[in-house]
């Protein structure tokens, strides 16, 4: 994302949302007209456990400044156990990114149910702000993808 001198840095946030809870939660925040920044772009996946670490790295590579993964609350997964696997995978992946010195606030896992439109909006507002504070992603970017 570009940084102009007279323009506030606008981060690009990619949000992976599971179809059953979080995507529905995002729809609900829309239905209730709860605002969150347009920086957030949602990609629908059937379950949070569909999200491969490669997708997250890919997003950073192509210019995302923050990646958030939303799924059903533990115990509520439409597929029973998907989010439990997600939780382990992402804990380890984020820990590794942190180990490599990548800012840990660029990644997040959040559980948002289909009823939590307000939580979805609040989470997105909060996450966007946190990433905004970090500034553009420089530690895990592909220079060739940087926008002018």
């Amino acid at each position: 994302m570009q940084v102009n001198e007279n323009k506030e840095f606008q981060p690009l946030i990619v949000a992976f949302c599971c179809n059953w809870c979080s995507y529905a939660g995002a729809d609900l925040s829309g239905t209730n007209r709860l605002n969150y920044p347009s920086n957030v772009k949602i990609i629908r996946v059937p379950c949070s456990c569909r999200v491969n670490p490669m997708f997250i790295l890919r997003a950073f590579q192509k210019g995302a400044d923050g990646v958030i993964l939303c799924g059903c609350h533990p115990g509520d997964c439409h597929y029973t156990s998907g989010n439990y696997f997600t939780r382990r995978r992402m804990t380890l992946l984020f820990s590794m990114l942190d180990f490599l010195g990548i800012e840990r606030d660029r990644t997040r896992v959040e559980w948002v149910s289909a009823a939590e439109g307000a939580k979805f909006a609040a989470t997105m507002n909060e996450f966007t702000e946190a990433v905004k504070k970090l500034g553009p992603n420089r530690r895990l970017e592909d220079l060739r993808c940087r926008k002018q």
């Binding site: 829309g30 007209r33 059937p46 490669m54 890919r58 059903c72 509520d76 997964c77 909006a121």
Partner: protein, 663 residues
């Protein structure tokens, strides 16, 4: 070469007011492969769909992107439209520019920019969509109803009526649920037992219905049309097939001081008991916590008096496994625990009772044989105060945030019945609002006021203080008189909020259905699919979905039955084609995918392969059963080689979306 059509919906002004739909259509028209890009007022309308259909035919489209509302709303609509125009329905992608764009952003420029990006992501994805064909899977012609209250009974009767086998699983020794405990029903004031017990008998006599009383569901596997359920038949220490329900054992049992749940603990029962006279099945049950034989090994009276030898102290929990095509949840409700509302002195004073306790106090089969007496001193109360909304309509920290819905009406009923039977009794009802939507409901409430002279006072009781003279001081506000009142009452009746049964939460986890924050089951759509859960094949009946009165419960029970029947009449159901599949050439056979599959959809076989060096090798490779796979994608990430991929959400499709969004 791809030929993609893009259709941008205005949704009236829902989208068009914040997103410049013309420039979205214009921008997406320049995307690679896009041959036509149009906008239209209402894309989901018939003429909107025709626009899509005609474009598919006219431009020979290979893919369609609709920029509109959430795919959860109209993805199916447009898939069907595409199919009717000869395009594989899975070549349609939706860009959600309403719920996730126009409705949440205010700035037209940034909303439009985002809408274009979402559109581009959908175009990028549809480039990689493959035509998919749905497989089929058989339907087991049997339904399971969990919960044997009026909801469960009605659902079971309706399904049986349609000719299908139904099993009712009830955790208590008898079916009947809450309605069996109720004295009279509003707004007609007919006796609950008179209308419920014939239905209970009908259920027990219907040859299509099997009642598993004193049983619980312990495990659910499988999926729509093909559930395998494990039912635990708890040991009742009485052989159900032999017991005639004569009741001699309950008369002779020496352990007579067990609080009687059916009468809300207002009187006692024996350790071996039949909950009430019309119980179904009418079979005795031994309460192992109080039976001296089971506790200390001494007694055995029931066994010696039983003429058919039905008593079996060695009985153990039994587990049965059964296949079902459909499952209906009817787990019902309970009044909340009132421990934390100190101000109403519920725990201090026996004459402060809940409404359900009052039902038993007034019931002919209740502890006082139908005469309304104070629990403390068995005297006739002359002044009764009803308190509405106890624990309902509260801030989350103080109680339930919702209206319990039934309290206004049953309180009017109680007040009326008391005034009818004991005209010397003064009755006060403290209300915040009187909510009586329903056929003949407001008329009923007005009758309580106008005909029976029940004192309705707008205001809330602030404090209830039992006095040493046996009276109860009720301090309350009368908002219309702008006064604080003190009433020296003989009894106080609390309209406790209702909440879903505690068994519902673990059941929801087993069924993989969703619940709201209050533990009510979430319906698939709040308006259009009110009796289905979001999980296919699981239906909702009665108060497990939200507070409901009896007529509403019965209506929903029949609706749930109709939906279940609609499923059971099919010989097979169309499967979701968005399932995982494995590329055998890349599969390592390492079993990682199998370990994470919640459905056991993955199996392995040794296959012979021709290797690049022209030798042959036997390799262990995974294969996915498309009828069992539900398409979660857990396996795709567990697979290190990337051999496992998911139709409709493939690695390359998701990465294309990522790329388009980040471009």
């Amino acid at each position: 070469m791809q030929r993609i059509g893009v259709f941008v919906c205005h949704c009236g002004t829902n989208i068009a007011a914040t997103v410049d739909v013309k420039s979205v259509a214009e921008a997406l028209g320049h995307e690679p492969g896009v041959v036509i890009s149009q906008d239209y007022q209402y894309m989901c309308s018939e003429s909107g769909q025709n626009l899509v259909k005609n474009a598919i035919k006219e431009h020979n489209l290979t893919g369609v992107v609709v920029c509109s509302c959430s795919p959860r709303m109209h993805e199916n609509t447009f898939r069907k439209a595409a199919a009717s125009a000869g395009l594989n329905p899975y070549l349609v992608e939706i860009a959600n520019i309403r719920e996730q764009c126009s409705w949440i952003h205010k700035d037209i420029a940034s909303a439009t920019e985002k809408a274009i990006i979402l559109g581009k992501a959908a175009v990028a994805k549809v480039h990689l969509n493959a035509p998919l064909t749905a497989g089929e899977s058989p339907v087991a012609k049997r339904a399971l109803v969990i919960g044997g209250g009026i909801a469960g009974i009605q659902t079971a009767l309706d399904i049986a009526e349609a000719g299908f086998e139904v099993d009712i699983v009830e955790k208590n020794p008898t079916i009947g649920g809450k309605m069996a405990q109720i004295d009279k029903t509003f707004p007609t004031l007919d006796c609950a037992a008179c209308i419920l017990t014939p239905k209970m008998v009908e259920a027990s006599q219907n040859e299509k219905i099997t009642i598993h009383s004193f049983s619980e569901v312990t495990d659910v596997k499988g999926f729509v049309g093909n559930f395998t359920v494990t039912i635990k038949k708890k040991a009742r220490f009485v052989d159900e097939t032999k017991c005639t329900g004569c009741g001699l054992c309950t008369e002779k049992c020496p352990m007579k001081k067990v609080p009687n749940e059916f009468n809300m603990g207002l009187d006692n029962r024996t350790a071996i008991y039949i909950p009430f006279a019309q119980a179904v099945p009418k079979v005795a049950t031994i309460d192992p916590n109080h039976c001296m034989m089971l506790q200390k090994g001494k007694c055995g009276i029931c066994s010696s008096v039983c003429s058919v030898g039905a008593i079996d102290y060695k009985q153990e929990d039994r587990f049965i496994e059964q296949k079902y095509g459909a499952i209906v949840v009817a787990t019902g409700f309970n009044p909340i625990n009132l421990d934390k509302y100190d101000e109403f002195a519920y725990n201090q004073c026996p004459d402060v009772v809940t409404s359900l306790e009052l039902e038993r106090l007034m019931n002919a089969a209740g502890p006082n044989g139908g005469t309304l007496l104070r629990p403390s001193d068995k005297t006739h109360p002359h002044k009764i105060v009803f308190v509405q909304c106890v624990g309902s309509r509260c801030d989350d920290s103080k109680g339930k945030p919702y209206c319990s819905k039934i309290c206004c009406m049953y309180t009017a009923k109680h007040a009326m019945l008391i005034r009818e039977k004991y005209p010397d009794t003064e009755v006060y009802v403290f209300y915040i609002d009187v909510r009586t939507p329903g056929k003949n409901f407001d008329e009923f409430y007005r009758r309580a006021v106008e005909q029976y002279n029940v004192h309705y006072i707008k205001g809330m009781v602030g404090k209830v203080t039992p006095r040493s003279d046996g009276k109860i001081d009720v301090q309350a506000s009368d908002l219309l008189a702008n006064e604080q009142l003190h009433i020296d009452a003989d009894m106080v009746v609390l309209a406790a909020a209702i909440e879903p049964d505690k068994t519902a939460r673990p059941l929801a986890t087993m069924l993989t259905t969703q619940m709201d924050t209050n533990d009510f089951f979430t319906e698939a759509h709040p308006k259009l699919r009110p009796v289905e859960s979001a999980t296919a094949g699981i239906f909702l009946s009665g108060a497990c979905q939200g507070p409901k009165d009896i007529p509403e419960t019965v209506a929903q029970a029949s609706a749930a039955a109709a939906k279940a029947i609609g499923l059971l009449v099919k010989n097979s159901i169309t499967c979701n084609p968005c399932v995982a599949h494995s590329d055998e050439l890349m599969c390592n056979g390492c079993s990682s995918c199998e370990k994470v599959c919640p459905y056991g959809a993955i199996t392995y076989e040794d296959k012979e392969f021709r290797m690049p060096d022209r030798t042959t090798a036997i390799r262990r490779v995974a294969s996915v059963n498309p009828a069992v796979c539900q398409g979660c994608g857990a396996c795709t990430v567990a697979c290190p080689s990337g051999a496992m991929d998911l139709n409709g959400f493939s690695n390359s499709q998701i990465m294309a979306e990522v790329d388009a969004i980040c471009k």
